[in-house]
């Protein structure tokens, strides 16, 4: 039996949205002269500012697609164009459906297109929104720092600083100490049973999302793209302010964009009617722009924000042959990832799926050099197959250390590299084998305790693997005198 279309919770969401929009629209327009707003709109110079603004905004969506593809990983069959289209479908649905259902529609379509589980698509969507929040706060604070603030927006920014600090700390904790965060959620859940399941589910999702950012290089790329997305969106604001002849700095656009996007988190109708207008116009007024011009600008920016994306989203839906009903069904499935399932006969609830591990990176030449240096201490020929085997084993084993020990080892090897480079003016891996052996022998068996400590696991692993490699036992060792 299909669930009823209208449930109390859906009715409540709809009613609160309509009420919110009504309230915010009233607040936005209560003290302005409507005729003045109309005059400002009539006088606005739409060409070329409206097309430029819309273009900037749409480029931002292209960047969102690029970021989405990066978040889904390298092996996913998802082009940047498809990713952008799906992202836009999500935005379009937010414009026409209540309760930000577009986020779930987007996850549903992404799962459908990539073949990855809904839960993983939801995780990616979640991390996108998390990064968006942080990027908006960064740009808002940057804008505020340049143009200065007054009134309630100053209070809002103060709150934002705290939220930003907490969100960043939480994200770092989720990346580097996910278990501690889960433990905290578990401890809270143990004391307040009513929140246990949702809280742990949320933290699980956050930690899985954060794991997408554990690779520093990828995290920097995704972070930079997130800033770029919102810089392009600020481009829409900046361009349309020019249409009204407002001589505002780009920082004003950043500030307005940030305040508006935080403001539309409040309940409203689909398309953020009312909330968008109020927060956008108030931000502009706080910068000394006339009330009528501010409201007129808010109306025009909202049109630039609403219409192109909705049209693009509808086009994408048609292009992919996806009917809205199917998409909504996918969204409904995506919204309930915690359904009971059985694995090996064991009942369990899925809370989310992370991405597959990254493919191994090319081997660091230092491991081969260390292996050569160590094996060179013993006179006689070296079995190259066994040496290669030992090199691979060394790298694999050191990568298996716990995070803390791995960090210590990396720092130790960095010191080793620097010292060797300063002594020989060449990297260790480019030294002749004889010199490598001399260096390794000094570090591993010399008078310097930290050097001996650093080389203890290295020498042990290399010797174990070299002499237990299948060919080493027969070729290298011989049988000895009997």
């Amino acid at each position: 039996m299909s669930p009823p279309l209208w449930t109390w919770s859906r009715v409540a969401v709809l009613v609160s949205g309509v009420a919110g929009s009504g309230l915010f629209l009233t607040l936005a327009f209560r003290s302005v002269d409507l005729a003045g707003v109309k005059d400002a709109l009539t006088a606005a110079q739409l060409w070329p500012w409206l097309p430029l603004g819309v273009l900037s905004y749409l480029i931002g969506h292209g960047v969102r697609g690029l970021r989405c593809r990066l978040l889904f990983g390298r092996d996913t069959p998802l082009s940047t164009a498809t990713a952008s289209n799906i992202v836009v479908v999500g935005y379009a649905c937010n414009n026409i459906l209540p309760a930000r259902l577009g986020e779930f529609v987007r996850a549903g379509m992404l799962a459908e297109r990539t073949g990855l589980p809904y839960a993983h698509a939801l995780t990616v969507t979640f991390v996108e929104r998390l990064l968006d929040g942080i990027a908006i706060l960064v740009l808002l604070l940057g804008g505020a720092w340049v143009v200065g603030l007054a009134g309630w927006i100053q209070d809002l920014v103060n709150v934002c600083v705290i939220v930003f600090a907490v969100a960043t700390a939480g994200l770092l904790l989720a990346i580097f100490a996910s278990n501690s965060l889960l433990a905290l959620a578990g401890a809270i859940g143990a004391r307040i049973p009513a929140v246990s399941a949702p809280l742990i589910g949320l933290v699980a999702k956050v930690t899985q999302a954060a794991s997408l950012l554990a690779d520093p290089r990828r995290a920097v790329q995704i972070g930079a793209l997130s800033l770029l997305v919102w810089l392009f969106e600020a481009g829409l604001f900046s361009s349309l302010l020019n249409a009204f002849g407002v001589d505002a700095r780009f920082a004003t656009s950043l500030l307005t964009m940030g305040v508006t996007n935080l403001g539309i988190l409040a309940p409203s109708t689909p398309g953020f009617i009312g909330t968008f207008h109020l927060f956008c116009s108030e931000a502009l007024q706080s910068q000394g722009i006339a009330a009528e011009t501010s409201v007129a600008a808010a109306v025009l920016i909202h049109i630039g924000f609403y219409v192109p994306v909705t049209v693009w989203g509808a086009g994408s839906l048609i292009w992919y042959g996806t009917q809205l009903g199917n998409t909504l069904a996918a969204a409904r499935r995506a919204r309930h990832p915690q359904s009971l399932e059985f694995r090996e006969g064991i009942p369990m609830h899925s809370l989310g799926v992370g991405e597959p591990p990254a493919p191994p990176r090319p081997a660091d030449p230092i491991y081969e050099a260390l292996t050569r240096g160590l094996l060179g201490i013993r006179p006689g020929p070296v079995d190259e197959d066994a040496r290669a085997y030992a090199t691979n084993f060394l790298e694999h084993q050191l990568a298996s250390l716990s995070s803390y020990l791995r960090l210590q080892l990396r720092l130790g090897l960095l010191s080793f590299r620097v010292c060797v480079a300063l002594r020989y003016w060449r990297p260790f891996s480019r030294l002749p084998v004889e010199t490598q052996s001399t260096v390794v022998q000094w570090w591993a068996y010399g008078p310097f305790p930290l050097g001996r400590q650093l080389f203890r696991p290295i020498r042990s692993l290399v010797l174990l693997a070299y002499f237990d490699a299948p060919r080493a036992a027969s070729v290298q060792l011989g049988t000895g005198p009997s």
Partner: protein
């Protein structure tokens, strides 16, 4: 298992404690889910080289050192069957003196020698514990010769490997299937009784509400390497994840009372001996005898040997000793193990995703016992005809005479130069009625939680001084039966 939304019992870990628990509970008609972090490695994959075995069957590929003033190399199994898949299968019952001291100090109830006999016998019968079936290998005969020369008490240690084919692959999984790791007998029996076993499933958190555990949060590694987070609900949870992981999980879940505060070990130092005649220790099972004379404080016995392990042990003094590899067929390895009484701890690491920080500080008593053990073992080996003995000590590359060896009866070895290892860790969640010293009651129920139990090596109140598998299995069965009876 029924279509219920929750299982009667979750058993975390499938080693000696977990397999016995699962089999006992499933045999009593309960729905049981065994969650094992490691892989279910088929037997055809066993018996590879030691590096491959480490990568395949050991926790963190064997890279789990115990930190302290003297770091100690520590390895434990992480696969279906746990460490029983990679140990040498030696079988001991806990000495009477040890059981008495547990009763006296920790007020451990129901675990006297006579009370444990039926459980030991049950396990011994299940695993066909028996002496080595064939002629002793050379490394054992040489050891016997040395013991005879010293006139010390000795016994051949029975093993869980009836029909052992002397393939020398104990540490990388017994390919012949003769060694009765848990994957061979008990886990299939548990499965036949209705238990479900899920490998690649790492429990991250025990979910609690007040004084009860409601289930677990676990990560399942899928075929493509991605990780799925799941919640599994249960009425009872048995944590059998071993001495390092059980306290980590409990502390991670907010259960800290006497958990992970007392890690005990058998610190071990290996000595290799070069004999004038070929020994070919790499082609036979490890030496089968143990010297009883100094039990339980000091044990002397035989160690696993391969070319790689010989190089590893000579590695402390490689520039001087590397050419000894030419004579590898003349070498065999032996060990000194002491019943450690230093301070140890287990803590979840603040950084990382489930890392564990293990710490153990060697005590002066440990060092004294180790020094005497090295003196005695070196003397024994030289008396057995060894030309030279090479302890894994940086500043003592070789011992060539008995007079050199006995020096360490009175002097202490240089602690910082020792290359210590261990495969025996326990007592990180000790049980007993002495609430000020223990994390669980005499039957493994964790204090302050109504339905959570520990049932593995972590529950041993103190170091047993002998290989712990037998005692872990006996106590695990006793606890599981007590639990079933109490329902």
């Amino acid at each position: 298992m029924t279509d219920s939304k929750r299982v009667d019992a979750i058993v975390i870990g499938s080693g000696a404690g977990g397999a016995v628990t699962a089999m006992t509970l499933a045999g009593a008609g309960m729905s049981v889910a065994v969650l094992e972090e490691g892989a279910n490695v088929p037997r055809r994959e066993y018996g590879k080289s030691s590096p491959e075995g480490m990568a395949q069957l050991f926790r963190r590929s064997g890279m789990t050192p115990i930190l302290g003033r003297v770091p100690i190399g520590f390895v434990e199994g992480r696969c279906v069957g746990g460490s029983t898949e990679v140990n040498s299968g030696f079988w001991h019952r806990a000495p009477r003196e040890v059981l008495l001291s547990w009763q006296s100090r920790f007020d451990l109830q129901g675990a006297t020698e006579s009370e444990l006999v039926p459980h030991y016998e049950w396990a011994e019968q299940r695993l066909s514990v028996s002496p080595y079936p064939g002629e002793w290998p050379k490394s054992t005969k040489l050891f016997q010769r040395g013991i005879d020369a010293m006139g010390w008490a000795v016994r051949e240690i029975p093993r869980t490997a009836p029909g052992c084919q002397s393939a020398n692959t104990c540490a990388s999984g017994c390919a012949s299937g003769k060694k009765q790791g848990m994957s061979q007998g008990l886990l299939p029996e548990a499965k036949a009784a209705g238990a479900n076993i899920l490998s690649h499933c790492r429990v991250k958190l025990l979910l609690r509400q007040g004084r009860r555990v409601t289930g677990v949060l676990a990560e399942i590694t899928r075929d493509n390497g991605s990780v799925e987070l799941v919640r599994i609900d249960a009425d009872h949870v048995f944590v059998c994840a071993g001495a390092s992981q059980t306290p980590t999980l409990l502390r991670q879940s907010g259960l800290r009372y006497k958990v992970g505060d007392q890690l005990r070990l058998h610190p071990m130092l290996k000595l290799t001996a070069r004999f004038p005649q070929p020994v070919n220790a790499q082609n036979s099972v490890l030496p089968l005898l143990q010297v009883n004379e100094f039990w339980p404080e000091i044990s002397l016995g035989g160690a696993y040997f391969s070319s790689g392990h010989l190089a590893f042990l000579l590695g402390d003094n490689w520039p001087q000793l590397s050419m000894e590899m030419e004579h590898q067929n003349h070498f065999a390895s032996y060990y000194v193990a002491v019943r450690g009484n230093g301070r140890g701890s287990v803590r979840p690491s603040a950084l990382g995703n489930g890392d564990t920080a293990l710490r153990y500080d060697l005590s002066v008593d440990d060092l004294r016992s180790m020094s005497r053990g090295v003196a005695r073992l070196a003397t024994l080996l030289l008396a057995a005809g060894a030309e030279a003995v090479y302890p894994a000590i940086r500043s003592i590359p070789v011992i060539r005479t008995e007079l050199d060896a006995v020096r360490w009866l009175t002097e202490l070895l240089p602690a910082k130069d020792l290359s210590l290892t261990t495969v025996h860790a326990f007592s990180s969640c000790p049980m007993g009625e002495q609430a000020g010293l223990t994390a669980a009651n005499s039957y493994g129920r964790v204090h302050h939680v109504d339905n959570l139990y520990v049932n593995d090596a972590s529950m041993l109140p103190d170091s047993p001084g002998v290989n712990p598998q037998g005692t872990v299995m006996a106590l695990a069965r006793r606890n599981a039966l007590h639990f079933v009876d109490s329902l």
